[in-house]
């Protein structure tokens, strides 16, 4: 099993990938819930535009999304320079940029899963809660949110898995710098480009498979316990 031992560089790539995926998932979650609510319940001008915008990364070639991110969030981009000057947040060629790229790419999956579960909620339960004295915020926290929990969990797992595997947009936006922006897929790609890199590529591939399997298993378990709680006759 000697050959299975990961080198320090490979460990760095695994850790970075996990960090990028977790940060991407957690930061997109509140936005994902808010936008899913707006799309599922709202009636406002520009709703289909918002919907199209959210789904865009699913349809565009990842390289295009990565390049657009570079234009907008890069050092000289309008948003990127603003954030760097006022808040000291820099995305280009940093792991935060990788997280942003992964979050944007995974966002449609997150929103879609949550939106579907919101549309399945019986709004009459929310009406009942309001007659019992709950204002809109409380109705959301005590009725809507628990009822859509399975959808949120499913969305988060999808988002995490997508973020773990994101390659095209990330490498375009923040390049492939070991220790900073070299995530698992980028590292595997690098290994395949150098002579004698097969063993490393295989090791990281196995790690990828294991992480994906664990994520799936976790989502299965959580969905099952959520369904048990909501047991309908």
């Amino acid at each position: 099993m000697e050959w299975m031992a990961l080198s320090p560089e490979e460990w760095t790539a695994v850790r970075l990938s996990l960090r990028v995926a977790v940060v991407a998932t957690l930061f997109s979650l509140p936005f994902g819930i808010a936008i899913a609510m707006a799309l599922a319940r709202g009636r406002f001008w520009g709703q289909s535009l918002l919907n199209g915008l959210v789904l865009m990364p699913l349809i565009l070639p990842p390289v295009v999304t990565g390049y657009l991110l570079l234009i907008v969030f890069g050092r000289k981009g309008p948003v990127g320079s603003f954030l760097a000057d006022h808040f000291g947040i820099v995305f280009s060629f940093r792991w935060t940029g990788a997280a942003l790229a992964c979050g944007v790419m995974a966002f449609p999956l997150l929103v879609r899963a949550i939106r579907l579960s919101i549309e399945a909620v019986d709004t009459r339960l929310e009406e009942a809660a309001s007659t019992l004295g709950a204002n809109r915020a409380w109705v959301f926290l005590t009725v809507t949110l628990p009822l859509i929990a399975p959808g949120i969990i499913a969305g988060m797992i999808l988002c995490f898995a997508k973020a773990m595997g994101e390659f095209g947009a990330t490498i375009t936006f923040v390049s492939n710098i070991p220790g900073e922006t070299q995530t698992l897929p980028s590292a595997i790609y690098t290994f395949t480009q150098v002579p004698g890199g097969d063993a490393g590529a295989l090791r990281l591939t196995i790690v990828s498979v294991i992480i994906s399997m664990l994520a799936l298993l976790a989502s299965e378990l959580m969905a099952r316990s959520a369904n048990r709680r909501l047991e309908v006759e």
Binding site: D122, R124, L125, E127, A128, A129, S130, T131, L132, G133, A134, N135, W138, T142, V143, P146, L147, R229, L230, E231, V232, E233
Partner: protein
Amino acid sequence: MTLAIDIRHRLGSFLLDARFETGSGLVALFGRSGSGKSSIVNVIAGLIRPDEGSVAINGVPLVDTARGLFVPPHRRRIGYVFQEGRLFPHLTVRQNLLYGHWFTPPAQRRDGLERALDLLGIEALLERRPGRLSGGEKQRVAIGRALLANPRLLLMDEPLAALDEARKAEILPYIERLQEESRVPIVYVSHSMAEVVRLAANVVLLSDGKVAAAGPIGEVMHRLDLFALTGQGEAAAVVEAVVERHDERFGLTELRSLGGVWRLPRLNADVGARLRLRVRARDVMLAKSAPADVSALNVLPGMVAEIRTGDGPIVDIRLDCNGDALLARLTRYSVERLSLALGTPVHALVKSVALDRRSLSRPAQNATGADAEADEA
């Protein structure tokens, strides 16, 4: 409590145009499905914002479109028991019951969990989830949940409609107890005349989104011109009576009303108890002279007070039996044969077995409530 409603609201091609005021006791909103009952209740609860008009409880407005006033549902403190229960599936029965309680400011909390459990008999269900409850249990929990929010008015939108007869019989006594023991006024929506007669003091009769009649149940029920709305086969008189004695030998109970003595199959009621008899028009026979040999045990003298002849062979007649109104549904042939006219003295015959348990109810608050207030004064 007074509830004053004056609203106009358009729902597609349906126009709701309702205006009425009610006093205390249980008020029934009665009408066929699609007559606008549920919409009115939703307007009272604040789930529908009317196009135009106002709703006020005890003179305090909840909606007044002229002034741009709309109190949102969560600030109205109006309990709502829905037809389908609408219990929260992710919470246990206990958490469901305490949901509204938790949102009530402590100073306004009247009823505790104990009292609701006692009133509704749901103690054993506390740790279960709604998915595992029967229809009747769900409705009892829904009633408890609404009560524990300490409402100043309780709305019940056909709470029994989704239940079978056995379950209805299980819940009705709880609603009767609720009326007697808690002082919360109730607005009760129903399309079942039997339920309305059993529970209501006042009734608002709705037809096509408009109020056809409103008033004490006796008055509305005894109007022949409203039979088409109160239900053809169901047309019935409501008679308030007091249990006078039990006849153990024949297993009968005697009751006295203004019009005379009623004999019914033995009832499980104390002597002196007030009951409400529902005498269906099709169960009443008329005779011009007191019949000598007849099996019917209830023979009440009276006179014809109103005759209403329709297009068909049926004639509806209202009798005045010494202050009690009775209704009789006869054929036109019989009316002509007996030459019945206004003021004709007659005897009404009702078989004891036609007055079964289901035609009985405890009188609604108008009787007991008035007594209680007199005592206090």
